[in-house]
């Protein structure tokens, strides 16, 4: 079983990123540093992607059904997005935080492998399934990068007591596409639900939380646009919105209404 080589994949992935990180932070030769710190994680991301594809082929269904499987995609997208942002902005802390975040998600997968089966219930056998979940995962990863960026900004704020506008701009540049993808994922989900069950919206707990996440990011966008001097509020709102997102994805089963959701992953 491919899942059994996740540990090896993990070790290679982490090692490559680690070497990249060391080069980013400790080497003085700028040009060579940048190259190595881009190439190695690039390879790491490719290896993780290859793992997902091989696993997909083996189980003969898209690996998007269980929590463990969505974490795999998430780790891949976070590291990919942080890698792309690094190419454009050379933000070192984000590089490190993104790497840590993917590592944590992969580690959780190693500790909680969950239940791997080829079975896919009829409701999920639909061409809408892959775009709906993949777009959500990409969006979650982009918004994670936005949140990490904000945390770096907040750290700078605590240190120097001035607001790092450049940093918040980068965060908002991530929130726009992240929010847009959230919108698309949600709307595709609604159309799919209509086709599968006849209701595009049923106020199921997972849907309600997803709506809440969407609304909070909507607040961020409007606060940023209409009240450009409320930077501190925006920073808190960005961090808080990501907490709501994480609850939507991982945490609703711990809320009173959560377990009745038809969307709770796995068994």
């Amino acid at each position: 079983m491919i899942w059994q080589i996740l540990n090896i994949t993990f070790i290679i992935f982490v090692s490559l990123w680690l070497v990249g990180t060391i080069f980013v932070f400790f080497n003085k030769n700028k040009i060579k540093t940048t190259k190595i710190s881009l190439i190695l994680p690039g390879i790491a991301n490719l290896i993780l992607l290859t793992f997902i594809i091989l696993y997909w082929i083996e189980i003969e269904r898209p690996p998007l059904k269980t929590m463990a499987e969505t974490r795999l995609w998430y780790a891949m997208f976070v590291s990919l997005i942080v890698w792309v942002i690094f190419i454009r902005t050379k933000s070192k802390p984000l590089y490190l935080l993104g790497f840590i975040m993917s590592t944590v998600f992969l580690l959780v997968d190693l500790i909680h492998p969950e239940y791997q089966t080829k079975n896919l219930m009829p409701a999920l056998q639909s061409p809408w399934f892959i775009p709906h979940v993949v777009i959500y995962m990409i969006s979650y990863a982009v918004l994670a990068a936005a949140c990490l960026t904000t945390l770096i900004g907040y750290y700078n704020y605590l240190k120097s007591n001035t607001i790092d506008h450049e940093n918040l701009r980068l965060a908002m540049n991530l929130v726009y596409p992240g929010f847009a993808l959230l919108t698309i994922g949600m709307l595709l989900g609604a159309v799919w639900a209509k086709i599968a069950w006849g209701d595009y919206w049923s106020w199921d707990p997972k849907e309600t939380w997803a709506l809440l996440t969407w609304l909070f990011y909507m607040l961020c966008i409007h606060l940023d646009y209409s009240f450009p001097n409320k930077r501190k509020t925006l920073m808190f709102l960005l961090a808080f919105s990501f907490i709501v997102l994480i609850i939507t994805w991982l945490g609703i089963r711990y809320f009173p209404n959560g377990m009745s959701s038809i969307h709770v992953y796995g068994n």
Binding site: R88, T89, I111, H112, P113, E114, Y115, Q116, T117, K118, N119, L120, M121, P122, A123, Q125, S126, E166, R169, L170, M172, N173, Y176, P177, F179, A180, L181, T183, I184, L187, A190, V191, K194, I195, A196, W197, G198, D199, Y200, W201, W203, P205, T208, W209, L211, L212, L215, F216, M218, L219, H222, L223, Y225, S226, F227, F255, P256, N257
Partner: protein, 399 residues
């Protein structure tokens, strides 16, 4: 701007207060009195009023406020307030007491929620009018996002007054022309469904280990595996190898007996078990309502079993009789593949066993939702707007 700030706080508070008083006096919001043509007229009137107010009071506070960032944040936050109630309080009608009386256990049916939707519509509508000019790329996509959402909110909330969803249970070889709504009321429908055949297919069952309380072991110790020939699994010092799998068979006096027309799917699998002291082949079979499972007890908290298999497919071969057509039409309805029939869309919902019978009962849902096309227009507008939003900020990246 101080004024706007005051409005943005006062309006939600007043709306909530008024909504709650209405809730206490009249009970839940009477969405059902908004059936066609009331809903359509209202939405139309709302648009006209927004347009007129916009045209004639362009420079007045009302237009300025409703299309401002203050109103946006205030209306979104007021809506968020209701959604938060929804995740905190369990949402079902039957609660009484204080929270039940003010509608917190069914927030989408409260006056306050209805006011909140109206507030969103006013703010969204006004800003959509304001951004109609100047006519440029940015404003067009702004319009797609905001007016698309306007359409979705307006037609989804008021349109639901006309929506009807009926569950229709049809046993095999039977014909049914009525359904029940979610409150259990009977409705006659203008077509009849005859179920010719209900088709079901299954994944192969899974091999699992139960402890002595009948619970699955934790995933980390042993996770169930699909029963596929020659799969080998190790657990503690045992080695299990899946051999043959038989469908619709039971074990009878040590031999495999195949039976047609069993009332439920049954599986029989042979597994080779080996460790230091033994090596033998055992039969396992899934449990059904008419016979117990065959499990293999290997030690304390170690019972090898076959889990009942999950459905991989279900669908119905049906005939539809309508008053118009003399000949019935033949169709297949599957999960994710509904059938459109005039104003109705018919979905494969679920199925159950017909008690004491080898047949199945197929459960369909028929949905009448006349406003769905307009809601889709709104959804498509929002999709277009969102695609633009993905790329719109890219250029501002700093080198």
């Amino acid at each position: 701007m101080e004024k706007f700030k005051t409005y943005s706080i006062a309006i939600p508070l007043l709306l909530f207060l008024d909504g709650t008083i209405m809730q206490l006096i009249f009970g839940k919001f009477p969405i059902n009195s908004f059936r066609f043509p009331v809903n359509f007229t209202l939405i139309f009137a709302l648009l006209i009023i927004l347009a007129l107010v916009f045209i004639f009071y362009k420079t007045k506070t009302i237009v300025k406020f409703l299309s401002s960032g203050y109103a946006a944040l205030s209306s979104i936050l007021f809506f968020i307030f209701h959604v938060i109630i929804m995740v905190i309080f369990s949402q079902n009608d039957h609660y009484s007491g204080f929270w039940g009386a003010i509608g917190f256990h069914k927030i989408t049916e409260t006056w306050s929620y209805a006011y909140s939707s109206l507030y969103l519509l006013l703010s969204l509508g006004m800003v959509s009018f304001r951004r109609l000019t100047p006519f440029n790329t940015r404003n067009i996509f702004f319009y797609f996002n905001h007016f698309g959402l306007w359409i979705v909110i307006a037609f989804a909330s008021l349109g639901q007054a006309d929506k009807l969803k009926l569950f229709i249970s049809v046993p095999e070889n039977d014909i049914v022309w009525f359904g029940t709504d979610s409150d259990g009321n009977f409705h006659e429908i203008d077509f009849a469904i005859k179920l010719n055949k209900f088709n079901l297919a299954f994944y192969s069952p899974q091999l699992a280990i139960l402890d002595d309380n009948g619970e699955l072991l934790k995933v980390k110790e042993f996770h169930p595996v699909d029963f596929v020939k020659d799969t080998e699994i190790k657990y503690k010092n045992f080695n299990f190898k899946c051999l043959d799998l038989y469908e619709d068979a039971i074990i009878f006096k040590d031999s495999v007996v195949f039976i047609d027309d069993l009332p439920e799917k049954t599986w029989l699998g042979t597994v080779e078990i080996s460790n230091k002291s033994r090596k033998d082949t055992v039969y396992l079979s899934t449990a059904t309502s008419f016979h117990p499972p065959k499990i293999e007890k290997l030690g304390k908290n170690l019972n090898l079993i076959l889990l009942p298999s999950e459905a991989s497919y279900f669908g119905s071969k049906i005939e539809i009789y309508t008053e118009k057509d003399s000949k019935p039409g033949k169709f297949i309805i599957e999960v994710n593949k509904p059938l459109k029939l005039g104003n109705w869309t018919i979905y494969q919902n679920s199925y159950k066993k017909n008690p004491g019978n080898v047949n199945y009962i197929s459960i369909f849902s028929a949905v009448y939702d006349p406003w769905i096309k307009i809601v889709y227009v709104g959804i498509v507008m929002m999709l277009i707007g969102a695609i633009y939003l993905i790329f719109s900020r890219k250029k501002e990246f700093k080198k």
